[in-house]
Subunit: 413 residues, 2 copies
Amino acid sequence: MKNSSISRRRFLQASGAAAIWIPTSARGYTSQEMRDFYANGEMSVNVSKWELDTPALCVDLDLLEGNLDKMASTMSTNGIASRPHAKTHKCPTIAHMQMDRGSVGICTAKVSEAEAMFLSGIDQILNTTGNVTPTKINRAMNLAQQCPGFIQATDSQPNARLLSEAAVAKGIIADVVVDVDPGIRRTGTPFGQSALQLAQLVDQLPGLRFRGMLCYDAAAQHVVGFQTRKAQTLERMVQATDTFNLMNASGLNTEIFSGGGTGTYNIDHDTVGMTDVQVGSYVFMDAQYMSIGGEQDAEVYSDFATSLTVMTTVLNDQYEGRATSDAGAKACTINQPWPIIKGESGMTYRSGSDEFGTILYGDDPSRNYKVGEKLEVIVSHCDPVVNLYDQMYAIRGDVVEAVWPISARGMSA
Amino acid sequence: MKNSSISRRRFLQASGAAAIWIPTSARGYTSQEMRDFYANGEMSVNVSKWELDTPALCVDLDLLEGNLDKMASTMSTNGIASRPHAKTHKCPTIAHMQMDRGSVGICTAKVSEAEAMFLSGIDQILNTTGNVTPTKINRAMNLAQQCPGFIQATDSQPNARLLSEAAVAKGIIADVVVDVDPGIRRTGTPFGQSALQLAQLVDQLPGLRFRGMLCYDAAAQHVVGFQTRKAQTLERMVQATDTFNLMNASGLNTEIFSGGGTGTYNIDHDTVGMTDVQVGSYVFMDAQYMSIGGEQDAEVYSDFATSLTVMTTVLNDQYEGRATSDAGAKACTINQPWPIIKGESGMTYRSGSDEFGTILYGDDPSRNYKVGEKLEVIVSHCDPVVNLYDQMYAIRGDVVEAVWPISARGMSA
């Protein structure tokens, strides 16, 4: 029973002596069993996270709530709102936690994601990606019809006309924001006159109501070094402010100027006119964000805690200097920096194989894993990792408190 | 109506004049609508693939069937069986097509995948990954109890003892193969005496029936250049043959010696003793396999056709030299080589953004995409891409013939 005694030690270390111990060798719960417990109101069984079948996506509730609270208080202090991006978590429970802390709404990247959020009771939704096909325009306008708090982005005049036609056909007036490109040439219309003319067209079209603009600088979020990131962001957003001012000066209703993200959450309030920040990853954090450095902590971006992990089990320990686990690319993606083993040092993790993770020991590893032992890795890039799972385990201390459906998992359409 | 006229041209080019044309501007079908059509026996509506909501995972039936037929005839000619790996397609329909063409069974990478295949009527399953926790050992033995054709791999003596205890507790004798490491130190026990002793233990344990060994050389599959790949594979597998002979000489029942894959399917029959090849990717192919080169075609590994694509829609065409589409990392993964745009030249595709694809035009692109137009990309690496989708569209010519559930999608546990 070597495995269970080691797991027991780990368990007690992490959770304190009062925790309930369920020995690994005696039990363990599949994802279906955990889902059923939760659906049937039986979470009182006090399942330890170490009893979860793996790979399992886990969120530490204390850390998650701390991240949510810190973002809410920072936004409040800075006099700007948050409109968190649900593309990160795809989880209505977390969206509700964000709304409960004063967010003005959520963002979604795809109309299917917006539909899933609306079905789960979220009624303030800004869909940041344009819908350009008849199918998707129809879906977006159906949602607008059912959800008065739904706002759709557009980035071209032909698209605005199609949206308006669809809205008129349904007998509604749909809320629209203009997507302005911050200079990365991905989506959005250019700064200045192009954006102004599109805004004016939206304002004039019979089926649409102009609500403002969004300008999301994706390229700014992972700039390494706080001062560099700040300088680049504020310089680039000057043109967004100028565009916003053009709209204002022309008499348009410019109540929304949305942009920014987790990397610039404490910078964006310095962009003149910006009304809300589309923060996403701050709820979970990940190895990519950790590596960009923060204002106080240049080494690690530690403003928010790494609440999201993948729990994995060691499958093979027979070979010198390494061990093989059950969480590979299909459980962790191949994003880099690679996942980080939580609470250990002197070892690295690779998830390059589709089905297997590799633990590589350095000269002085903090431990050596045996077959059957479990470990947690901080994920590389939270958004696509969450998108691989149907449910996440919400854990307090070491006890599973809830099983949250990731309702918008796979909703890339 | 520029969009629909261009789509019409593409449609007619690809499918011939007799095909039924449904204009893009008139209709389009969501994934839910397509699923419902199929469930209700209404595929007679003859939906064109160009009407699918995107991103959509598409498989060309003529190409898929050609791949299946070619593999079956090659195996037959070479006097070796196939035991295709379902980790690639996770789709029971394709598993049945493989069994119908004479495969001796399928492989699965995870017990949850095996459960999904069994529930869909597949009853010859070799689970190639060891199960080491009580939860998973229990699941595997439950499956063995229900499915007499289930075979579980093991790679250590302690694990074999646990499997046997669980089998005895259920009153069954479970079929087991020994996983032998080909030298990549990921899973498996080393060649030679270690493997022999494990095989002998399995043979002696009261709950287990020894069926043979597997030795999957993952590292060999993507070696560039056929002759290099062949030489490396056969050299490394000499020790697998020696190990197999040791087992034979000791009087064990060595009916299974499974290994190999798509990259070595026409090499593995030269490994003395090998009984079946665990081919996976040949059903779909992908950019990674295309790049390794084949025996006849050194440039492109063209032994099998690229039947799998992701259909995507252009969202933005406003910026010089590029366009943005709706299939990014969450629809295509970030595996490289990057996806390849089907039927076009002078342009490349990037799926590095979570939500967006980027089409980059070279000096002489074969066309320029407009907003709303659709294109297909050959996927980078088929296994993890399939794992992102709940369903795939089975397409004949340009008409959607079926909607296949990817029943084991997300089953990494």
